[in-house]
Amino acid sequence: MAGASLGALAIGQMLPIKVAEAARLAGLIDVNGNGYIPTMCEMCVWRCGVLAKVENGRVTKLEGNPEHAHSLGNLCARGQAGLMNTYDPDRVLTPLIRVGQRGEGKFRQASWDEALDLVASSLQHIKDTYGPEAVVFSSTHNLSQVQFENLLNAFGSPNYGTQRSLCFNAMIVANQMTYGLEEPNRSYEGLEYLILTGRNLMEAISTSETSILSRAIDRGLKVVYLDPRFTKTAAKSTDWLPVRPGSDLAFHLAMLNVLTSEDRYDHNFVEQYTVGFEKLAEEVRPYTPEWAAPITDIPAETIRRIAREFSDAAPNALAHNGWRTSNFVNSFQTQRAIACLNALVGNWGIHQLPAAAEGAGLGVPPQPPYPRASAMRMDGVPWKYPLVPFKLGVFQELRDAIITEQPYAAHGWFIARQNPVQSLPDRGKTLEAMSKMDFIAVVDIFLNDTAWFADVVLPEASYLERYDPLNVVGNKAFIRQPAIQPQGEAKSALWIYKELGQRLGLQDFFQYTDEEDYLRQQLAPLGVTLEEVREKGYAERPEGEENPFNWNTPSGKVELFSETLDRAGFNALPTWEEPPRPPSGKFYLLTGKVGRHTQFGTQNNQLLNKYEDEPRLWINVNTAKALGLADNDLVKVTSDVGEVNIKLWATEAIRSDCVYLTPGFGHLSKGLTTGYGVGASDSVLHVTYTDPVSGSQALSQTFVSVTAV
């Protein structure tokens, strides 16, 4: 590809250098012909379409697939660096069985048969001794999760941990209560006014949405951005509002106040398609901009101006839900207020659209009915959290229940594509929960922090090496297919779950012979062959002519007043809940994304590491001065549950009562040779606080002190 002159570079000089070494060590990879293979990114959950350039059995470049609505031909830094995950010399390429103490990182290589037999017999032993509920299953947002859920349901355990309560429970439950769906699709076409509540789209990149937003700004879209930090999104916004953490709710209640009290709402939409408007108007009457100003630190006239501009732009106005707005225990109310605000400007069907269900219109392998759950869930769903969907759960509560052994004890933990040691708040507690386990198995491509403490590690094929179930985006079902053969003995999750199912006597639940057979069964209703889809990258699927003005709520309308919330004993209307403030001498601890990383899984990527900054603790320059600290000083950050040391970045770009730490760093596993020792872990510091309605972990409700080391 590089022509004659670059071709003279020996393989050892090629970049990434360790890629070449890894490729050499792995031996020659089976060649599937040089060229481009359409597949799907897995560097975050946005799942852009990629075209993998393959030369001599190696992926040498990834391009954004112009035919995929999530990439629009582009990829972000993570997507571009994706091949480095595949060629990372830290890959686990054979099954591993622990030989030292847990956490020592001493493993021996094992065959698949030995490792799978050990996992199956250990899980079966726990099931026979304590019941299936004594095995906890947990996995994070991935395309094979459907078969992971199949395994846990067939096994009969009700205990399922996802990352969703650490991320977007508040948004999803609020949308379900208001619109009867998890999250609407958004259209920026013709949009004139956008409010982003902590949605840092220029750094928490979803390629197409970031592209579309950028183009919209270029054509004159007004963007109001609420964030205590001056992020890259703030830099592109019309108004940056450095709101006090936890008070976004007050801002949105004041927006609702202006729209209702000044008669600035869409009468047609409200009368025809919503329930509870009068009650809402009554509820928000006290929440004037003047009321909100001292709470939010946003001047009343600014709030009033924005409310008027927002309603003037209706219906071409949108309040974005945000993603990880689950920052305080009042975040559910914030999400409800945002959902109602959108209803008042009547943007449904224009800028908020119904989204197709996952896997809609695809075939599924036949299977018998699942056994009845053997016990109540440990995470309190639904007996403590009646409105939290089973698929979401309350992961931090599950972890705490493992420690307290209430309502019962768990003895085994099967974890796939997830790193709870880094993702759950209060890492000390998570390690304690793991120490209570008789047996832990982890499926991953790396020895991540959780795998470091496992008894068995099952090496998964990377996303460039395997099939996954199809992914539906709009009227297309996209394929993830191997661009190269798996390195070493790595295997797909579809294969691993099926093999485990067979060894657990659950083969009837896994009626596919291999990954390709699974995909053929998915494609059957579409009348397309796998070969066509492999070549094209997707299958067309008929889109239903659904009436967007038909909401899956009890009333069939948009519920400003929610009967469901009322009956469950929660506030049926968005209402003010005062969040705690840091005591004197302490700061709000904020986290948030950077454009090079996704959660906890990319810090070991050498290419991303090459172009990432050293993670430092943001602190306002004046605050630093008052503390006698200077830029780049090493400081100790202390919360109620832990402490870390990290360098300071003294900057104007953050409120004086906040500090910010890039999440995902501070890895414990020495099996991550690039990421180990870089930065500090936010999960060490985070205190566990759960929103009683949505089960969300309140990620900014942790207060810390900062002192010189």
Partner: protein
């Protein structure tokens, strides 16, 4: 003075600092596409840093790589013809000819060429517009192809310049009224537009005429190698001294990706123009503020 004249077939870039979000997708894409060693880079980010006082803040950035000058100083400084200006506008680099003298690094008024300091037989590292992509049908360099915000676009050089002016004319309040690269160093094939003065992005204020003419007098016109080196270096020295002074005035630019860019290059010319070993060795990279 210029040896090259436009033939209408030259490629060019337009980079818009109002659109760049500093995501660094272009940096990673370039590294992968061109197999750039880990410790160096062909492209990096120049940025203003956080400007102003809370809460009245601004921040801009732009990817930065070879300008592909019309009359490149590096080409004229190269004694062995490893650097060439092609008909399609690309300032190309032939590693088989390169002797590793690094004159190009000192000659470049934009301080673009990097060096593989850690390799045993180090080569120069610089943008070649992904010439391999242009020839294999992918038609667009890796940086421009992946940019999620269209901050980098690529096409016919003349079209890029027209588009640059169109954007300024259409939005005179948004951009400063200068297309960087149009006249700098006698004209280049990389054009920048920006809402803030280019010095605030840490861009060198390059002379409007290229010093290449003087470099050519010595590198191509003097019979002995010794003479070439002696006179060539003094010419280079003058060029660099000027840049160092220019850079010293208000360069707040930061860089991503281990680049010995403008700021560090000041150290390279202190007191002498003779390339000292490792004078621009990227130490700990000046990592960009998060």
């Amino acid at each position: 003075m210029s040896e090259t004249t436009s033939n209408g077939n030259e490629y060019g870039f337009l980079i818009d600092a109002s659109r760049c979000i500093d995501c660094r997708a272009c940096l990673v894409a370039c590294s992968v596409e061109n197999e750039v060693p880990m410790e160096t880079t062909r492209i990096w980010i120049q940025e203003t840093g956080v400007q102003g006082e809370f809460p009245n803040l601004a921040r801009f950035s732009a990817p930065y790589h070879c300008m592909h000058c019309d009359d490149p100083s590096c080409v004229s400084a190269c004694t062995v013809g490893a650097l060439q200006k092609s008909d399609n506008g690309i300032v190309s680099y032939d590693q088989d000819r390169c002797i590793g003298c690094r004159y190009c690094m000192y000659a470049c008024p934009f301080q673009v060429p990097n060096y593989e300091w850690k390799e045993q037989l180090p080569l120069i590292v610089k943008c070649d517009m992904c010439v391999s992509r242009l020839s294999d049908g992918r038609s667009i360099p890796a940086c421009a192809a992946t940019c999620p915000t269209d901050a980098i676009i690529f096409g016919k050089k003349s079209d890029m310049l027209v588009e640059a002016h169109r954007r300024i004319d259409q939005n005179p309040g948004k951009f400063i009224h200068h297309v960087y690269g149009e006249t700098e160093n006698g004209g280049t094939a990389t054009f920048y537009i920006s809402p803030v003065p280019f010095e605030e992005l840490g861009f060198p204020t390059a002379e409007e005429s290229s010093p290449a003419y003087f470099n050519r007098l010595v590198t191509h016109g003097t019979p002995t190698v010794a003479g070439v080196v002696a006179v060539g270096l003094s010419s280079v020295y003058l060029t660099i001294k000027h840049h160092a002074e220019a850079m010293a005035q208000g360069n707040s630019g930061a860089h991503s990706g281990n680049h010995a860019g403008p700021k560090e290059a000041e150290g390279a010319v202190q007191g002498t123009a003779v390339p000292q070993n490792d004078t621009v060795l990227p130490q700990e990279s000046e990592r960009q503020e998060v």
